[in-house]
Amino acid sequence: MTDDGDISRRYRELAREEPPRHLDDAIRAAARRAVGTRPAPLVVPTGRQRWYFPLAAAAVIVLAVAVTLHVEREQPGEEIASAPPAPAASPPLEPRAEAQAQKPQSAPQPERRRKTESAESRELRDAAPPAELQKAPEPVPTLPPAPPPVGTQDAISSAQQLAKVEGAPPPVAGAAARPAPAPKASAQLRRFDEGARSAPSLSASALQSPEQWLQGLADLRKQGRHDEADRSLAEFRKRYPGYRIPEAMLEKVEKR
């Protein structure tokens, strides 16, 4: 007679079927995948989308920096470019001619540049009208009545004057009206500003004829304003390095 234990023993002697290997692999892989899976984020970034936010942030930063640098670099250049060439000092009508000569060239300048003109450049331009040129803005009391000085000047006008004195051909109006390269123009403007603020009398002297200038110098000596006279004389020699001062005048203008 067979008991329960014998049935169990005999049962275990039956074939021990196993699941196929491919089934084992599939189930194990599914188990590993399930454990490796993270909880899904609220917004799933897939493919290109995962680059959208960082890329957009980087683009915004680069754009902001580029615009800032561009604005910083552009502003001085625009002031220089928009500053009209300073009118010539004498004769009084020349500035108008120059201004007229400038018109065709300055007209095509972009509207944007005109809008960004600095107050300084506007002042310079406003000084151009001949009505203002007729009177001296800051009359120098120590100097003899000078030919109508202008409130502004630049190297071009000085060169024109020098050329007239020395008999050299004056610069062509068009060439004078031609806008100087930005760095030079900037330097000229700065030099003018400094000179106009610190020594208006010197600037005025530079617009006179050499004889008038020397006479003014002599007057300064007479009044005992030797510092101004020294500066004016140095400026004179810088302007007219080849000018030979007559002996009589030399005694009056040189430092004693």
């Binding site: 329960d4 275990r12 699941p19 084992d24 599914a30």
Partner: protein, 169 residues
């Protein structure tokens, strides 16, 4: 299983290696079709994987595992228009598949196998849960959803028929 639920993939390897053969044979001998057995076997483990975070150790893991397999078998029988739990008593199928008559002249193991296949499904399941799953009567009752008395009765009937088949020569 708790370790696997916590993310330890190696814990699943241990569980799978321990139960794969027994569960597969349990299913195979319940459905008598290798293709169906493989399908149900895979489905059982997929459910284990999916339930890893909800698993609560109320009983032995094998009890939980064989409960899943039992539910799959019930679904399988229902799809085929059969009932697993209604075959408690002697029925026409079991009568016609009398292991003693069909297994005459064969080896005892062959008779045993045939007798097992001829058992009513519920008795066979009770026997397989006992032999393959190592479950006690109470655990068989828990897995199958039957009372302990019913589970005990099924197991006793199954054993008696298999003994008869083995001794029938």
């Amino acid at each position: 299983m708790l370790a696997y639920g916590g993310g330890d993939a190696g814990a699943f390897e241990t569980l799978y290696g321990r139960h794969r053969g027994r569960l597969f044979r349990f299913i195979l001998r319940a459905v008598k079709d290798r293709g169906v057995a493989e399908e149900l076997f895979q489905e059982a483990w997929v459910r284990v994987i999916e339930s890893r975070s909800r698993y609560a150790p109320k009983a032995r893991f094998s009890t939980w595992l064989y409960t899943i397999a039992h539910n799959l078998l019930v679904d399988h029988w229902r799809k085929k228009g059969l009932s697993l739990v209604s075959l408690d008593g002697e029925d026409a199928a079991s009568e016609s598949a009398n292991p003693a008559r069909q297994a005459e002249g064969r080896e005892a193991l062959a008779r045993l196998l045939h007798a097992l296949e001829a058992l009513p499904a519920a008795q066979r399941e009770a026997f397989l849960l006992h032999e393959e799953g190592g479950l006690s009567v109470a655990e068989i009752a828990a897995v199958t959803g039957a009372g302990e008395e019913a589970a005990k009765s099924r197991l006793r009937y199954a054993m008696a028929k298999l003994k008869a088949a083995v001794d029938d020569n």
